[in-house]
Symmetry: C2
Subunit: 322 residues, 2 copies
């Protein structure tokens, strides 16, 4: 990550999580929750919540438990997504349904949102209705995004607009929500909180576009996972959507070759480049980043240093090489 | 059910549910939610919430959406429990994971609690913190109860106390919570709300004890499911726990016979009767019912008619023959 501020936030979040007591009965329920939370992660969502709170001059401590709630909810979605995707590993460790079994993972994922709501409810009482409203809407959108993602993998060729809607619901809204909850706690006006939310949406979309880009053009050593995974699994990243639009005949011919393995990855990557899909994805990513910076400016706030960190963070999300 | 009041409440709840708009995108997410809610059911939890509100002179309409939230949460637990139990049917219709697939049922169950929280958040703003606190605690206890139930089916012989803890968390706390939420909305004092909650716990425990009793001694025609299901599946209903305590040698000898099918059901049922387990379960049920009536009296309230309906309802839960 680009900024040390976010690492400091992540450490504070980890310390708060470490103080949560999961030594409860029945251990069969609480041990997997503890396990998931100790797998680590960048704690991006709570970090954004804390940054937003401080941007408007709020007290960090007042945002800490709600911020932890956002991380708990994010972890719920990972546990259940891993069941749906039959994923064996998460952050290099066995997923809950692999380490225990599916029923255990199902129940772990059922309990985490409840703990998230418990933690989010620890905002100052007058703020609770606004925070609940924002969070409930986001949680529902996350479910919609997960369904759209399933549809994406099994369905008809998608458009750019459908792709953007899917990544917005699946990824960007929780980043936006984290910022908005922090902004509310920090004392932002509704208009400021809305602009900061839109900043989160645009930055989250840029993050996901870059994720697709890295799959094809990233340095495998740095990215840390197999290059061309999306290609080999016949997913529909933005590059495929653009390539199909820019050169339909070339795309059809490429598909008909029915290539496999490294040869397939190399041919598709070349096609993304030659068709102009790569360039179009990069342009889209930069446009989203520009939009994010514009929204951040409009979001105001009293702490210029934090705003600068948030700006750098968005740039890192969009242009990261790993 | 014993009282027409609860049927009137259930009809109002059904009407409110019917007005909820599930005609949203993506239909793949909202259609199963709509399906589950249209499977029907007695709407006991929202009915208890509405009754509690009116017991203290509250306006029915102010409790309606929170009451619907309790029903939505109950339905979430059914959908995920059905996955865990690999149950094919629910209320005579295919379960969600049978009609669609497991991922669909997983996501349906993830979305229902969010909709529950949305609906519960529609209480008057000053009441929201109390309602959230009560509900969050109950939701966590439900997860614990589900885990204890899984442990029960796979674990060591259990004690009466472990059995009561399991049925309390798995079934009774949500009945108690429904009453408490209604009491809070209706304007009960904290002490009144606590007594009404305890009424719900005791009535819920009596309900579950009777459920076990009916499995062995119910009229199969009336109960509407195969008699001795618990026996055939080697579950640990209260009757088994008592029989094992009252006559350990007899129980051991019976187990060693390794009987099957109807012969097994007949022999176990006879043993429950002769060992005194049947009588002990009936005494426990009646003691719980008495406790429920005592708590209801202590819960006060301004509407004697509703209190009488609640008393009859508890009696029906404990002594129903179907």
């Amino acid at each position: 990550m680009s900024t040390s501020l976010f690492k400091r936030y992540a450490t504070k979040v980890d310390n708060t999580l470490a103080r949560q007591d999961f030594d409860h009965d029945p251990p069969e329920l609480y041990a997997p929750i503890d396990y998931v939370l100790k797998l680590g992660g960048k704690r991006l969502r709570p970090a954004l919540c804390l940054a937003a709170c401080e941007l408007y001059g709020g007290e960090l401590e007042e945002a800490m438990l709600p911020a932890v709630g956002l991380e708990l909810f994010h972890n719920f979605s990972l546990v259940h997504d891993d069941i749906m995707d039959r994923a064996d590993k998460r952050r290099g460790k066995p997923t809950v349904h692999t380490k225990w079994d599916q029923n255990r993972a199902l129940l772990t994922g059922d309990a985490l949102p409840v703990q998230a709501y418990q933690s989010l409810s620890k905002v100052k009482t007058p703020l609770l209705p606004r925070v609940m409203k924002v969070f409930n809407q986001t949680a529902m959108e996350l479910c919609e995004g997960q369904q759209l993602d399933i549809n994406f993998e099994t369905g008809q060729p998608a458009t750019e607009q459908e792709y953007l809607e899917m990544i917005t619901l699946k990824t960007a809204v929780l980043l936006g929500c984290s910022l908005r909850v922090g902004a509310i706690i920090g004392g932002a006006t509704p208009s400021q909180a809305e602009h900061l939310y839109q900043f989160g949406l645009a930055a989250g979309q840029a993050f996901q576009v870059q994720d697709d880009w890295l799959d094809a053009f990233g340095d495998q050593q740095k990215v840390g996972k197999q290059a061309g995974g999306d290609i080999l699994q016949d997913k529909q990243p933005l590059l495929v959507i653009y390539a199909r639009q820019l050169d339909p005949d070339g795309w059809k011919a490429l598909r008909e070759q029915a290539l496999q393995g490294e040869e397939k990855v190399a041919a598709y990557t070349r096609f993304f480049h030659e068709s102009g899909a790569r360039k179009q994805a990069e342009q889209r990513r930069e446009a989203l980043l520009e939009e994010a910076h514009k929204e951040l400016k409009a979001a105001g706030g009293s702490d210029d240093d934090i705003r600068e960190h948030l700006a750098q963070f968005a740039t890192w999300l969009a242009r990261r090489d790993r």
